[in-house]
């Protein structure tokens, strides 16, 4: 579909490009563009972070991005152009980890599509983050289970799993 662009970008090859995303979702019909840019920050849970590495199961990640795009289109009920790109490999502080851009006729639709897409990418796409710390240690981030039975169990345990990540 021409209105949806999904990509996984190996950091060694290129950085994510926000200008390219904005150009893609621009359209004479559209008066609103919302973007979310996720960047690598220098701390997490009280530890100094020096960089992160992203591991992805790429074919399923791209399919998941496309499914998210279709869901966003159905949800906003308006013409939509959507860009979802995620970085892969070793990233430095300040590098772009994820870029989501949504273009629609009006701002409300753009904000809703962008929010839906970034939350779904974080909770549903097969992507894993490993943080590297200033002391030389590193650790995989705690994540969100994709296992149906586990999700059901969490829902019962915590009545609404806070999703702080």
């Amino acid at each position: 579909m021409d209105d949806l662009h999904v990509a996984v970008v190996e950091r060694r090859m290129a950085a994510l490009d926000v200008a390219e995303a904005l150009a893609f979702v621009s359209d004479p019909r559209f008066g609103g563009i919302a973007t979310f840019i996720g960047r690598v920050r220098d701390h997490n849970v009280g530890r100094v972070v020096t960089g992160i590495s992203y591991d992805l199961f790429e074919p399923l990640a791209l399919r998941t991005f496309r499914a998210i795009g279709e869901r966003a289109r159905a949800e906003v009920g308006a013409p939509l152009k959507l860009w979802i790109a995620h970085a892969k490999g070793d990233l430095a502080i300040g590098d772009l980890a994820v870029v989501v851009a949504a273009g629609t006729p009006h701002r409300d639709e753009a904000f809703r599509a962008c929010r839906l897409a970034i939350e779904a990418v974080k909770h549903e796409a097969p992507i894993w983050k490993r943080e590297h710390y200033v002391d030389g240690d590193s650790a995989w981030s705690e994540g969100c289970s994709l296992c149906e039975e586990q999700r059901d169990a969490e829902r019962h345990d915590h009545a609404g799993h806070a999703h702080g990540h």
């Binding site: 399923l60 980890a97 974080k122 983050k129 994540g143 296992c147 039975e149 586990q150």
Partner: protein, 86 residues
């Protein structure tokens, strides 16, 4: 049948090759594959937390395969620990 399972995220630590190969009886469900993988890792990669396979999902390149699904023949699968993208 032999089933090859690619490892991702924290489960990569289980085998430097990035995958494991399990002997899976024909007609097994994903729930049964989960038990086989948990037993395999308990023996060969004791550093992996025992609960990690329980909260991981299995998938082909096309879709997540939930517990009631059959293990597809001749397809490489992936085991996906809890995700942390974005």
């Amino acid at each position: 049948m032999k089933t090859r399972i690619a490892l991702y995220g924290a489960l990569r630590e289980a085998d430097a090759s990035g995958h494991v190969e399990l002997d899976v009886p024909a007609g097994s469900s994903i729930a049964e594959l989960r038990e086989l993988l948990a037993a395999h890792l308990a023996e060969h990669a004791p550093a992996i937390p025992a609960g990690l396979v329980r909260c991981s999902a299995f998938a082909s390149a096309e879709e997540i395969l939930h517990n009631h699904r059959s293990v597809p023949e001749g397809v490489e699968l992936a085991v996906l620990p809890p995700v942390s993208g974005g």
